[in-house]
């Protein structure tokens, strides 16, 4: 479709080939649109990529687990036909204690340290857990349709908006009197208080609280941390009870299968094509201009880029109302989560766990107070001196990621401010040492087997993955930046105030986490499939 003038024309141009952009492109192409995806990096995937961080060692460079892309979407896009394979599904979550105790979490039960001398869950906790898990599961299931929906607009006379609001009310009403009351009671609570109500073991409390603050700017005592927990549970529903999985070849393999699905549907995908500006003609988005100077015209531009960069950098406030620009600029976009990659000479052992358990997801969050203390520093622009961690050793399930006999450890690290008070330049090694020392407590001897350590601070994530603020949800997931308010009122239905410009990234409802729903919903809006 390249025109003689050197500029080309498409129905839809998707700016950014992250997972949401690729999902969006696939659905748009299936809807009969001519679609071009432009990715600035040399491979698609955005923050869902596999990279070689030192020769021979590859790792999922940002997101490292899948827990929220629905089976329905994987089937619908036939991703397994396009190369997606899982090296592990239904991965267990194991909370570690420095004394060798542990709690292993499963959807309906927990397994805990056999020895009563070691930290673990009490008998009462084991009895309480299924009730707690079932309650949260019911609430998560009730909220899942909300995540899948295009948020309604408030204050309109449109039937679709009223119906969507009624449906939301109906979903919650259907929970029944008791659960509905519990949802309203705990919805605005902090997870610290909730877990103290249910459990007595610090290790179990820490493990369950960790998921509420993972990837957020929250500590367990922050208001709204039950909301983020419910969000995570809701996003993990409809994944056949297998919330945690690891694609063969890392998250980059998922992105490649998404790209293949999009291409099979007729979309074009270009890498090394960084967009400089979204062009506007006659008050309507008319296409994009690349950093190379090349221009591409399109009826519709869909941005997978975070909302601040989309509106303030690629588009420009001169095309927007000042109040809207102010709302966008006030979005909370700073990440507080770092990533550590270790190239290891051998398989790390975790105290008290059998060798074959190394393929799971390990949490270092031995108590709620530990989490809260880790969070304290971040409020003042400092990193945690005893960070909380989510650790995987992807090479256990997928040996192709490292040379034979070698291993990779991938850890999500809470908390590391995007803007460190002292600046990151001279503090990276110190923080890396702190994280390694922390893991060493739970895996003695680990540090001796380290061949190379790579730390990605939120500032690095911002630069590497082109996410303003380096937040993996593009914008903080909190009640005030959720649903009809995400990213901001006026752009919460994927359509922006500028005709012909849509958003499809994690900054939109329902957020990031490698779910793909934002991309699919945006495509439905562009295609006019939303009633």
């Amino acid at each position: 479709m390249v025109a003689a003038s050197g500029s080309s024309r498409y129905d839809c141009v998707v700016v950014g080939g992250g997972h949401n952009g690729l999902v969006c492109a696939a659905y748009l192409a299936r809807g009969g649109r001519s679609v071009l995806v432009l990715e600035a990096a040399d491979e698609v995937g955005g923050a869902a990529v596999t990279r070689e961080f030192t020769p021979g060692f590859r790792v999922s460079a940002c997101a490292h687990l899948m827990h929220s892309m629905s089976d329905a979407m994987i089937r619908d896009l036939r991703l397994e036909d396009h190369g997606l394979k899982f090296s592990a599904r239904q991965m267990p979550t194991v909370a570690l204690s420095a004394d060798g105790g542990s709690v292993s979490l499963a959807p309906a039960s927990i397994l805990t340290s056999a020895s009563p001398l070691k930290s673990g869950a009490t008998v009462d906790d084991a009895a309480a857990y299924p009730r707690y898990a079932a309650l949260l599961n019911r609430l998560g299931l009730a909220l899942r349709p909300m995540l899948d929906a295009v948020p309604p607009r408030l204050g309109t006379d449109a039937w679709a908006d009223k119906r969507a609001l009624l449906q939301l009310g109906w979903q919650i009403r259907r929970l029944g009197r008791q659960d509905m009351r519990e949802l309203l009671r705990i919805g605005g609570m902090n997870v610290y208080d909730l877990l103290k109500e249910h459990f007595e073991s610090p290790l179990l409390q820490g493990a369950l609280g960790f998921d509420a603050v993972l990837g957020s700017n929250f500590g367990p005592r922050s208001p709204g941390s039950v909301f983020t927990l419910l969000y995570r549970l809701a996003s993990s529903q409809d994944t056949s009870g297998a919330p945690l999985s690891q694609p063969q070849g890392g998250l980059g393999a998922l992105s490649r299968s998404l790209a293949a699905a999009a291409v099979a549907a007729g979309a074009e995908v270009r890498t090394n094509a960084a967009v400089q500006r979204i062009t506007v003609h006659n008050h309507r988005a008319s296409g994009v201009q690349l950093t190379s100077g090349e221009t591409i015209t399109a009826n519709t531009v869909i941005s997978n880029v975070d909302p601040q960069a989309t509106f303030l950098r690629l588009l420009g406030p001169e095309y927007l109302d000042a109040g809207f620009t102010r709302r966008v600029s006030h979005l909370r976009t700073r990440g507080l989560t770092a990533k550590l990659h270790l190239a290891l000479d051998g398989l790390p052992r975790f105290t008290g766990l059998p060798m074959e358990a190394s393929g799971g997801r390990f949490l270092i969050a031995p108590s709620l107070d530990y989490l809260e203390r880790a969070f304290n520093h971040s409020k003042y622009g400092e990193f945690s001196t005893a960070p909380a961690l989510e650790i995987t050793v992807p090479t256990v399930n997928d040996p192709t990621l490292a040379p034979a006999g070698k291993h990779v450890l991938s850890a999500v690290v809470q908390y590391a401010p995007h803007t460190l008070k002292t600046g990151w330049e001279n503090r990276r090694q110190q923080f890396t040492d702190i994280i390694v020392d922390t893991i060493e407590h739970y895996s003695p001897g680990l540090s001796k087997s380290i061949l190379l350590a790579q730390l990605l601070t939120p500032a690095d994530i911002e630069r590497e993955f082109r996410i303003t603020g380096g937040h993996w949800h593009h914008a903080e997931l909190a009640l005030d930046q959720f649903f009809m308010m995400r990213p901001v009122p006026g752009a919460a239905q994927y359509q922006t105030p500028v005709d012909g410009l849509y958003l499809c990234g994690a900054g939109c409802h329902p957020g990031g986490g490698v779910m793909g729903t934002a991309g699919r919903n945006a495509a439905r809006q562009v295609l006019g499939q939303v009633a």
Partner: protein, 465 residues
């Protein structure tokens, strides 16, 4: 703080709204203007020479003296205050934008007739003034206001309005283009917050409040040109309406900026000066105008003249959308009859999308002029479609007996479709006659504004009356 709000860095994607532009407070202390476009940050606190006894706050071991909060401070006095005080018979002062100014000097009628028959001085100093400067000043202003500022030439003034996202008026005011990248925005109310919000993404831009750095006098009336000429402003006759000139007053060693603008719809000028020169300029003008009936006026007389001229008064004829609480109480420029100020052909401006939509659907109400029967001003009158008063269709926002037109005039907001030109509405007027209230249902006709627009206001050179 005295530091102006300067967006001078490259765009910072992670903190577009952060420092420096949004953290500072309004610059309110008198600073010495410099010509290089950037004012030095002195670091001085908000020290005020007129601050009354301070509040003592214990902070740790030390006792710290703080100025009293702004709402406990007395109103500011303008640089003309001593002159006004001396001439005020009625001692009738009112608060205006933090200053005390004269409401009536002697008698409203005398002051009004001086506007239409002689010349008048009106202290404009409290008018809120912003300096907007820098390479992106024009693009910034063009995005802020509904008119095409790119067409405003250096040395010219434009009356403008600006809106929020919903296309509802925040304020009206005048934009002065003082240089290539140097503008002054004069507004009724302080709105640095909105101006700074609007500045997000515009780099190399200075937005700075300069109200206290500039004293201003409005000189309005048919003999105003003759008085200025007599005062020694050589060449002032060449100023066209909405033009700016600078004049050296050799006798005073004072430089005076003069714009041919005003709020009376008559021949007149506005004079802008260093506050240190204010009293000398006042004295010079009063002396030069002695034989041409010059007199100072207060706000009440001006109000009659501005209604005759059809000009809107914020918080009287519309309430700023920054202040309205209830839905539907704010007003768009289309509703206010200001569509001539809205340029849909220029680049995007805040509120454009909403105004395009309003234009497409048609406005639900409109501000119009009314010619009311009888001679009783229709103050605050409710308006009806029928004499029986069954269907309420709007209300009067400003009303006066026009002594010059000899007509009973009003500005009124009327619902569609009753605002059609030439139509008849009924005004429910209440009259207090020695404490006995009477009610009159009076016929009124929808008419064009302005009610009074003499040719002399535009004549260049102006008449030497």
């Amino acid at each position: 703080m005295r530091n102006p709000h300067i967006n001078d860095g490259g765009f910072e994607p992670t903190s577009p709204a952060a420092e420096p532009q949004n953290t500072a407070v309004a610059s309110s202390a008198v600073a010495s203007p410099t010509q290089d476009g950037v004012r030095p940050f002195t670091g001085a606190g908000n020290t005020s020479a007129v601050a009354p006894a301070g509040v003592h706050v214990a902070m740790g071991a030390a006792l710290v003296s703080c100025p009293p909060p702004h709402y406990l401070q007395p109103l500011l006095k303008t640089p003309f205050h001593n002159r006004a005080r001396a001439l005020s018979q009625r001692d009738s002062f009112i608060a205006w934008a933090g200053y005390t100014t004269v409401d009536v000097f002697t008698n409203v009628e005398h002051e009004y007739f001086a506007i239409r028959n002689a010349t008048t001085l009106y202290d404009l100093t409290p008018m809120v003034k912003y300096r907007i400067a820098g390479p992106s000043a024009q693009a910034y202003l063009n995005h802020l206001v509904t008119r095409d500022i790119s067409k405003l030439k250096v040395g010219r003034v434009a009356y403008c309005v600006w809106c929020n996202d919903a296309g509802h008026l925040i304020d009206d005011g005048t934009v002065f283009r003082l240089g290539e990248d140097e503008y002054r925005l004069c507004t009724a109310e302080r709105q640095l917050d909105w101006l700074l919000s609007s500045a997000i993404g515009f780099n190399r831009l200075i937005v700075e409040e300069v109200t206290e750095q500039i004293a201003a006098l409005a000189m309005q009336g048919p003999t105003s040109y003759a008085v200025l000429a007599a005062a020694g402003l050589v060449g002032v006759e060449r100023l066209k309406p909405f033009e700016i000139g600078t004049f050296e007053l050799g006798s005073l060693e004072v430089s005076l900026m003069v714009s041919r603008t005003g709020f009376t719809g008559d021949l007149g000028y506005e004079l802008w000066m260093n506050p240190a020169h204010a009293e000398r300029v006042w004295d010079l003008l009063m002396a030069a105008g002695h034989t041409r009936g010059i007199r100072p006026i207060g706000s009440q007389a001006l109000n009659i003249a501005r209604i005759e001229a059809g000009f809107l008064q914020p918080n009287v004829d519309f309430v700023s959308s920054a202040h309205t609480v209830m839905m539907g109480r704010d007003r768009s420029p289309l509703q206010l009859g200001l569509e001539w100020l809205v340029d849909f052909d220029k680049p995007y401006f805040t509120g454009r999308r909403a105004l395009v939509e309003e234009k497409r659907r048609g406005s639900t109400r409109r501000l119009v002029g009314l010619d009311v029967e009888g001679n009783k001003p229709a103050h605050n009158a409710l308006l009806y479609a029928d004499r029986a008063g069954r269907k309420e269709i709007g209300s009067v926002t400003s009303a006066t007996w026009s002594p010059t037109c000899k007509r009973n005039i009003a500005l009124a907001m009327i619902d569609a479709p009753h605002f059609a030109m030439g139509g008849t509405v009924w005004a429910d007027i209440y009259l207090n006659r020695e404490l006995v209230w009477e009610r009159r249902m009076v016929r009124a006709r929808v008419v064009e504004r302005p009610f009074f627009a003499p040719d002399r206001r535009k004549a260049t050179p102006p008449g030497n009356y």
